[in-house]
């Protein structure tokens, strides 16, 4: 599949003359080059593809460069080096005018602190991107009203942002970013400023919307649990570098380094991993006891596997045998083996 956005060796360096610095170090300054130079590498050599219809979560702690990277993708921040392809076109070569057109029709963004315009009502905030495009008043208000209903704010369209709760304000932010029906949806820590309960509710809301809309999504978060709940794929960033890209189960079972392992340590592995993630594929044990399903979480089958004398057969949804799962497989999956690292 063609990636929607393709990001090749992107660098972002902050400092007095970043371009000059970047080129004097041959377009690949190492950690030594930065030491004491007054330059800060916010993003280092980031290469990542975003495929149509997927939710890609970029996860990292504050200062890891995740917000800078997502702003490079929309050119809110100009990358120092590298290449970004949007629908196969070189985004960094787009003129300011072309960028305005791209943002008006192809991109939407949701911000951590909502970034609503305080002097406009909910409806007029949502209609704002249409207004700057020059959509006629009646049309844009009709469309804005549709999106307001979509995010569940019907009846509050004439409220001002100051009259709404945090969760409601972010619903407005989401509605505004969706008003122009963008292809790509950037969400920069959209739920970080919300209370835990509201955050969970908004995550559900987000998944509901994505089931309806099937956007291509780049979602930024510092919360690994949130990443697991929402992501098709997760990219973990540390000190400006993308450390690992993969599905949640992959990060848990095969962490690329100690940093990733540290993140995944507290994850409820029994709920995240499925039988298919840990089974011995291809094995075909005796068809004695009832088989377990390949896509079941370990949590649901652990009791049975551990009580069984012999490995159990694993089948897919059509009942075709996929492999076998033994007590040892379950124990290894649930209790990470740390003996090798100590």
């Amino acid at each position: 599949m063609e990636p929607k956005i393709s990001c090749r060796g992107v660098w972002k360096i902050f400092g007095p003359h970043p371009e000059r610095f970047f080129h004097t170090h041959g377009g690949a300054p190492g950690p030594d080059a930065f030491a004491g130079s007054g330059y800060i590498p916010a993003v280092r050599d980031a290469t990542i593809d975003v495929f149509p219809g997927e939710i890609l979560v970029i996860m990292g702690l504050s200062g890891s460069g995740k917000s800078t990277l997502v702003r490079c993708l929309s050119r809110l921040i100009e990358p120092t080096g590298g290449e970004i392809l949007f629908d196969g076109r070189d985004l960094l070569k787009a003129t300011p005018k072309e960028m305005i057109e791209l943002r008006r029709h192809k991109m939407g963004m949701v911000f951590q602190h909502f970034a609503l315009l305080p002097h406009r009502t909910v409806l007029h905030n949502v209609a704002f991107p249409l207004e700057v495009q020059g959509v006629a008043r009646a049309d844009r208000l009709r469309r804005a009203m549709e999106v307001v209903e979509l995010v569940g704010l019907k009846g509050r369209e004439s409220y001002y942002p100051r009259e709404l709760s945090g969760g409601q304000q972010q619903r407005v932010g989401i509605a505004r970013s969706l008003a122009v029906e963008p292809d790509v949806w950037f969400l920069d820590e959209p739920f970080s400023a919300l209370d835990p309960l509201i955050r969970r509710e908004m995550q559900d809301e987000f998944l509901r919307l994505q089931n309806l809309l099937h956007k291509t999504i780049v979602f930024i978060t510092h919360d690994f649990d949130e990443a697991i709940r929402l992501a098709d794929r997760i990219a973990i960033m540390n000190e400006g570098v993308i450390v690992q890209i993969g599905a949640a189960a992959e990060l848990v079972t095969r962490p690329a380094n100690d940093y990733v392992a540290e993140f995944t340590r507290e994850v409820p592995r029994d709920r995240l991993l499925t039988v298919a993630d840990v089974m011995a594929a291809g094995a075909d044990p005796d068809a004695g006891a009832a088989p377990v399903e390949a896509n079941a979480p370990i949590h649901d089958v652990a009791r049975r596997v551990l009580r069984a004398e012999a490995p159990l057969r694993v089948v897919d949804e059509n009942g075709v045998t996929q492999g076998a799962i033994s007590r040892a497989d379950v124990v290894d999956a649930l209790f990470e083996d740390r003996s090798g690292r100590e």
Binding site: R71, S74, L76, I100, E101, R103, R104, H105, M107, G108, M109, F111, Q112, H113, F114, A115, L116, L117, P118, H119, R120, F128, P129, E131, V132, Q133, S158, Y160, R162, R176, S177, F186
Partner: protein, 645 residues
């Protein structure tokens, strides 16, 4: 804290040593010799002469240009005066009836905040009518209503340019600093030279004087817009113009509206003082009455100016704080109740004016006056308090002021330079030391060193008294919420009064001279000292006070060991403001006879000497900026050390 003494000794020691060794120093190190004087005045006047006399394009000189521009201000002035007082076509089209303006002020107050503001605005305007100040105040009002939008628009434009072009900001910002520390009179002289002495010249001077705060607050407001909001605008696909018009300016509205309020208040303050170059209205009559020592009438005009100031201030503040509102349902007078009542007011008063002329123009014999009452008080003061007041004045002069003045005049300039330079160096190395030494060098080389010392003595004595008044009052006020609110309200109110007003009571008590001048400064400049002390003490974080309380501190210990040290940087910013206020006032006080820089500016004004006016004005500004640089930098450093701000 233990390290404080050696540092203080290091900073003050060399300066003290130079003062002690004064007689051993060579003469040039004590008083700048006349031969050092740089002819700034002559240079400026040469430029002024050139601009006045030399044709630039065809027959037109620069002055012809400025006069032409000034001509444009005439028609809005005439228009507003026509609407408010004189009517048009020799009275064939009448001006608005006074009852209508009173009613509209009340409706507007109601719309912006509620019935209290309605009563205040309506009442204040009613006073202007009932006490026979209608015509004068409407002239002043029309000048303010013309000057404020122009000054606001220019300030807004400059602010936007500065935000969009870094290079322009680098030029504009220091210029704004100097402009905001230049005394009022320095603006009057060039305007008088290039435009002349007239009502419109006064209005132009007002525009120039009131513009800087708008530019400054526009810059602050636009810079303060959250970066996320700007990004949201970019992601929506805004063009540069859309960004400015639909995102940045609306998002910065609260700060920009503070600028609008300041512009209006500065306009009123300046239009009073601009009467020196021919602005008409309340200021002109006040000046005239004061010069002829008719205190009672002067006081009545003063009260009118104060009422106008309070009304304009409260209305514009309410306008700034006004949040957008939902439309109500129903018929249009239900949906727009305020528009409806305004229309009702217009209809009723128009009808009333048709029936009786009294509702249109209040005849003189129906107006009230309190002047005899105030004159009575002034007479009583002169008769009964003459001896104690005289005794107080002479005692203060002989025992404190004159010795202090002599002391200041004895300080060698080298000692001042060493002190200022070393404090600046300690606070921020060359970044602070060089500018302040530059300011000092200008004052020294301008030929006004001796005058500046007199100004410095009056200001520092007044600032000491202000601190002596402000600190205890601030401490008292910070103890309870209601006291703090009360003091805040009083400070806000007194601060809106144009500074010129403060001369009236002082003349009443002390007539003229140093004591009178210093009293005026003290009344005016105590306001920031009180305000900042209260705010500083009250803004100490609550959890720190709780921690101190649970540690077993007595209230006294909490004040002196916890709140005072934490509030001290803020209090010093108050002292900084006090110095600025004092410098403004000391120049205005030249009107009642001082012998410092103010007197020099006054003379320059009399002889239309633009060069001298500007150079002396810059001396005042640079004295202020020296103090400002050092104190704000110290407060910033100290706040960083304390981890607050």
């Amino acid at each position: 804290m233990r390290r404080a003494w050696p540092i203080a000794a290091l900073l003050l020691g060399p300066c003290a040593l130079l003062i002690v060794l004064r007689d051993a120093l060579p003469g040039w190190a004590v008083t700048p010799p006349a031969s050092w004087r740089v002819p700034f005045i002559e240079w400026i006047n040469a430029v002024v002469e050139f601009l006045r006399k030399t044709p630039l394009v065809a027959d037109f000189t620069f002055r012809d240009g400025t006069r032409a521009v000034a001509g444009w201000i005439e028609w809005p002035l005439d228009l507003l005066e026509g609407i408010l007082i004189s009517g048009f076509a020799d009275g064939a089209v009448p001006s608005l009836p006074w009852t209508m303006i009173v009613g509209l002020a009340a409706v507007w107050g109601w719309y912006l905040r509620g019935w209290r503001l309605s009563l205040l605005a309506g009442g204040c305007v009613l006073y202007l009518a009932l006490f026979g100040k209608w015509k004068l105040s409407m002239i002043t009002l029309s000048a303010v209503l013309v000057a404020a939008p122009v000054a606001g628009a220019i300030g807004l434009g400059l602010g936007i340019l500065a935000v969009k072009w870094r290079g322009f900001e680098r030029i504009l910002w220091p210029l704004l600093n100097v402009m905001q520390s230049l005394p009022h009179f320095s603006y009057l002289i060039p305007v008088a030279v290039f435009i002349g002495v007239s009502h419109k010249a006064g209005t132009i001077a007002t525009i120039l004087f009131a513009m800087p705060p708008m530019a400054r607050l526009t810059i602050l407001g636009l810079r303060g817009v959250s970066p996320e909001i700007v990004e949201a605008g970019l992601m929506a696909g805004c063009t540069r113009l859309q960004m400015l018009r639909k995102v940045e300016i609306p998002a910065a509205r609260p700060t920009i509206m503070v600028g609008v309020n300041q512009v209006i208040m500065q306009c009123l303050a300046m239009v009073v003082i601009a009467s020196f170059i021919g602005a008409k209205g309340l200021g002109h009559d006040l000046l005239f009455r004061l010069q002829s020592l008719r205190i009672g009438q002067a006081l009545e005009i003063g009260v009118a100016i104060v009422f106008m100031a309070v009304t304009l201030d409260r209305l514009s503040q309410a306008l700034a704080a006004k949040e957008p509102e939902h439309l109500r349902e129903g018929a249009w007078w239900r949906a727009h109740p305020f528009l409806g009542s305004a229309a009702a007011v217009v209809a009723v008063t128009a009808l009333a004016s048709f029936i009786t002329p009294y509702a249109s123009v209040l005849p003189r014999e129906l107006t009230l006056t309190t002047a005899p009452f105030w004159d009575g008080i002034v007479d009583w003061v002169t008769v009964n308090l003459f001896d104690p007041l005289n005794f107080f004045r002479d005692a203060l002069l002989l025992n404190v002021l004159i010795p202090m003045r002599t002391g200041y005049q004895a300080v060698p300039w080298l000692a001042v330079a060493v002190l200022v330079g070393s404090i600046g160096w300690r606070l921020g190395r060359a970044r602070i030391a060089l500018p302040v030494l530059g300011f000092l060098a200008f004052v020294m080389l301008s030929g006004f060193w001796a005058r500046s010392q007199i100004t410095a003595y009056m200001v520092s004595f007044a600032v000491l008294v202000c601190a002596g008044v402000g600190l205890p009052l601030g401490i008292w006020a910070s103890k309870h919420e209601w006291r703090a609110k009360l003091v805040q309200l009083l400070c806000d109110t007194f601060q809106t009064f144009p500074s010129f007003i403060y001369l009236i009571p002082v003349i009443m008590l002390f007539k003229v001279g140093d004591v009178a001048a210093i009293s005026a400064i003290v009344i005016y400049a105590s306001i920031p000292a009180i305000r900042y002390t209260t705010i500083g003490l009250r803004s100490v974080p609550h959890h720190i006070i709780e921690a101190a309380t649970t540690s077993g501190c007595t209230p006294r210990q909490i004040l002196w060991k916890v709140r005072m040290p934490l509030a001290f940087p803020e209090i010093m910013l108050g002292v900084n403001q006090t110095i600025m206020f004092a410098l403004f006032m000391v120049i205005i006080a030249a009107f009642i006879g001082t012998r410092d820089l103010g007197q020099e500016i006054f003379r320059a004004l009399t002889f239309n000497d633009a060069g001298k006016g500007l150079v002396v004005g810059l001396c005042v500004a640079f004295i202020g900026l020296t103090a400002d640089r050092l104190i704000t930098e110290w407060a910033a450093v100290r706040k960083r050390e304390l981890g607050i701000g």
